[in-house]
């Protein structure tokens, strides 16, 4: 027993020595990728980053001043979905132990707020690829000198997400009204109980009636609810034609599955992050057919000339469609690499100065960073035609197809926008059966 104890301590100490020692690497740019690596979002972070690294290193690397430096990725599992303390520790470890030059990633808002503080303290450029809360960029406007190293990479913020969602649901409502002759569309709002949804619920109460729809009820299930038959029963009784979902968590799956199995006579629209993933079809046993959600990428759809190469390459490499957390690819290839080359250095302040005024193309649109009403930098993504709009996709028989923007007129007199690869929206047959007179 005693010998075993001694042996164990020797083994532990040697592991400690191994883990503490930082290997010296030579001329490499170290980019830390932080995310919940055991979950799909983190895998997206890592896969996107890997793809970017392989592509850039194959070309010889990034030119920094006079030398060509290759990229080295450092993976950090933040475990943020379960434990915010772990996430903060992981960020600190990434910066102080692994001594990275840049950090990209992040997903859960509460964790990203804590991680952002740590990165800013260390004057480390942190590109957020996953958290949507406005607060992350509002901080830049309030305290520029501390927070200027933060840039939002993806998605655009919660208020803009709401705006887009309304435009998309309006499109679906118009299609239903036209084809099924429904005089006034009744809409049920189902949002998971989460902060980013609060603002949207308030906006729903104001904007949906203005768009000519009647809000018949607002349901707030838990983000990790697994049985929503009670809510679905109540929604059916309310006579809603459209169910506007605001889900980012696991509740998106049972909701879609049970609504499909019960053949609730209402179409599912809105935001359902789980439905953006390829695994959704299997997870709902195929019952998620005809569900519509906002998304960033879809196979065969081109938002601009950079999209196809990215989506096709990602599918070829990993066998699944990229989601918005895979925008780590764009963060490296389109955001960091060109700016590093222009600056000629890895110095954070110089890069920030160039990046914040840059207008450039990413794989999903054009990025221009917003300023607030007083003219302060927010490092927030600009929304709108010509910039970033996202897509509206619908599950059609096992495939995720995009149907918006398709002849979308953003404002009066503006030219209609259509991306390549659009297909028409399909109305579920049980809806047609019920409503077509």
């Amino acid at each position: 027993m005693k010998k075993l104890n001694v042996l164990c301590s020797i083994v532990l100490v040697s592991f400690l020595v191994v883990t503490i020692s930082v290997p010296a690497w030579g001329a490499r740019i170290k980019i830390g990728v932080i995310g919940p690596m055991k979950y799909v979002q983190g895998k997206g972070h890592w896969n996107g980053a890997k793809m970017a690294r392989d592509e850039i290193n194959a070309k010889g690397g990034i030119k920094v001043g006079d030398e060509m430096m290759k990229i080295k990725l450092v993976k950090a599992d933040s475990n943020e979905i379960l434990n915010v303390t772990d996430a903060a520790n992981a960020m600190e470890r990434l910066i102080t132990r692994s001594k990275v030059d840049f950090v990209i990633g992040g997903f859960r808002t509460e964790a990203v707020l804590a991680m952002q503080d740590i990165a800013m303290e260390n004057k480390m450029i942190f590109i957020g690829v996953g958290a949507a809360t406005n607060e992350l960029c509002d901080r830049v406007g309030r305290d520029y000198d501390t927070y200027k190293y933060w840039f939002r990479g993806s998605p655009f913020n919660s208020s803009l997400l709401a705006k887009t969602a309304f435009v998309q649901v309006g499109t679906v409502a118009a299609i239903l009204q036209k084809n099924l002759n429904i005089p006034k569309i009744k809409i049920a709002v189902v949002g998971e109980k989460a902060m980013w949804v609060e603002g949207m619920i308030r906006a729903c109460k104001v904007f949906l009636p203005k768009m000519g729809m009647e809000v018949v009820g607002i349901w707030r299930p838990s983000p990790v609810a697994t049985d929503v038959t009670a809510e679905l029963s109540a929604i059916q009784r309310s006579g809603a034609h459209i169910i506007f979902t605001i889900f980012s968590s696991s509740v998106g799956i049972p909701f879609a599955r049970q609504a499909g199995e019960l053949k609730i006579p209402a179409v599912l629209t809105g935001i359902n992050v789980e439905a953006q993933k390829d695994g959704f079809w299997e997870a709902t046993q195929g019952m998620g057919n005809y569900l519509m959600t906002m998304n960033t990428y879809a196979r065969g759809v081109e938002s601009n000339e950079l999209t196809k190469a990215f989506v096709d390459g990602y599918v070829a490499k990993y066998g699944e469609t990229p989601t918005y957390t895979s925008d780590t690819y764009s963060a490296i290839v389109n955001t960091l690499a060109p700016v590093i080359e222009e600056a000629g250095t890895l110095d954070a302040d110089k890069i920030v100065a160039i990046l914040e005024n840059r207008v450039y193309k990413s794989t999903s649109g054009t990025i221009k960073y917003m300023k607030d009403a007083k003219g302060n930098h927010l490092h927030e993504l600009t929304w709108g035609p010509g910039y970033l709009t996202s897509l509206a996709v619908q599950w059609q028989d096992g495939e995720l197809k995009a149907f918006w923007p398709n002849n979308w007129v953003a404002a009066k007199g503006a030219p209609p926008i259509t991306y390549k690869g659009m297909v028409p929206y399909k109305i579920p047959p049980w809806m047609i059966e019920k409503y077509k007179k």
């Binding site: 532990l12 592991f15 400690l16 191994v18 883990t19 599992d77 379960l82 434990n83 915010v84 303390t85 903060a88 520790n89 600190e92 470890r93 102080t96 132990r97 808002t109 509460e110 707020l113 804590a114 503080d117 809360t133 607060e135 901080r139 109980k193 989460a194 902060m195 609060e198």
Partner: protein, 346 residues
């Protein structure tokens, strides 16, 4: 000059007669010395961060032990005090602009209030009923936190609160000194009359009642003291992380503290503190195998329980110390006779 000499001599005498005689006390002394000297020797900000968090959780675990280990009121919802302390301190800091050295104790007082609120219904409950009911309280509070997102920030929590101190090293000393101080206070409490009564309540409440002691008052006192210390831990956590979120109220936080405390040794303040340090630091070492980290953690806990079901530190202590059968004073294990009463030790 004489004054200093006198006190130095006194310190030396105390050390020789009280501390160096027992290996366990020497270990405690070395541990305290190590913690105090750590930043001077190592200067690694990441490890300082880990030790700060470990110290905060150590206060948390010791406070649980004060309640559940000593009085036997198994509290499965200890995260309630932690969360209330964290949110309380964050609130006061953000809205009333009270600096950390004020908001943390005041936040802890709010946690004491929470302790009373849950202590009173729990007075009539016994054993497992008490344990499972206390589990419910932090969950209900979490529901309330989500129900009033404008007030509490929902799942984002309250962010943008002040730091404890600007330099990492200052943070470290604050955390460690507070931990040692509160640990000593808790230890003193358990060593006093109140501590004896707590112990007695756990062993046989009816007998204590029969002896004429108002157990209700003492049980409530235990809840309040425990709540106060846990609230301080919560406030420190909020100010260190600069965010107070619903993750402080999670069930995993409640379960975690139970694991640390029982692993380290229940009904002894040094047990949970040691348990937290051992387990948290072990968890850090296990990072070399990221995927299997938690599994190995669970494995370590299970295996340790098989061999040392009373906890790690009581087991260790029994290996190096013996109790004198006559005067009950502790002696080093390899002595033949007691150092105080010279009775033979067998």
């Amino acid at each position: 000059m004489d004054f200093i000499l006198f006190h130095l001599k006194k310190l030396f005498t105390i050390l020789k007669n009280e501390v160096f005689v027992l290996p366990s006390r020497v270990v405690v002394g070395l541990f305290v010395l190590f913690l105090i000297l750590f930043p001077v020797i190592f200067k690694d900000p990441y490890w300082m961060r880990i030790l700060i968090l470990t110290s905060i959780f150590a206060i948390f675990a010791a406070s649980w032990d004060l309640l559940s280990g000593f009085t036997g009121q198994m509290n499965f919802g200890h995260a309630l005090f932690f969360g209330v302390g964290a949110y309380g301190a964050a609130f006061l800091n953000l809205h009333a602009h009270i600096p950390p050295w004020g908001s943390i104790p005041l936040g802890a007082l709010v946690a004491v209030l929470a302790g009373l609120i849950i202590g009173i219904p729990c007075l009539r409950l016994r054993g497992t009923y008490l344990a499972l009911t206390t589990l419910a309280f932090p969950i209900i509070l979490m529901g309330l936190v989500f129900a009033f997102p404008d007030l509490t920030g929902g799942e984002l929590g309250i962010s943008g609160i002040d730091r404890l101190a600007d330099a990492r090293i200052a943070n470290y000393y604050i955390a460690v000194v507070v931990m040692l101080g509160l640990g000593t206070i808790m230890w003193k409490i358990t060593d006093s009359n109140i501590g004896i009564i707590f112990h007695a309540i756990r062993e046989d409440e009816v007998a204590v009642r029969a002896a004429g002691i108002n157990t209700t008052r003492y049980k409530l006192l235990a809840f309040c003291l425990s709540g106060f210390f846990a609230g301080i831990a919560g406030g420190l956590y909020a100010h260190f992380m600069r965010i107070a979120g619903p993750s402080t109220l999670e069930v995993s936080m409640s379960f975690g503290v139970v694991i640390w405390a029982i692993f380290g040794g229940i009904a002894s303040i040094y047990g949970p503190i040691g348990g937290v340090f051992v387990l948290n630091i072990l968890l850090e070492f296990l990072r070399f195998w990221e995927d299997y980290r938690m599994l190995m953690f669970a494995g370590v806990v299970l295996l340790t329980l098989l061999f040392m079901p009373d906890g790690l530190f009581p087991w260790l202590r029994d290996k190096i110390e013996k109790e004198c059968p006559r005067c009950k004073i502790r002696n080093i294990a390899w002595r033949d006779t007691c150092r105080v009463c010279t009775a033979p030790l067998d």
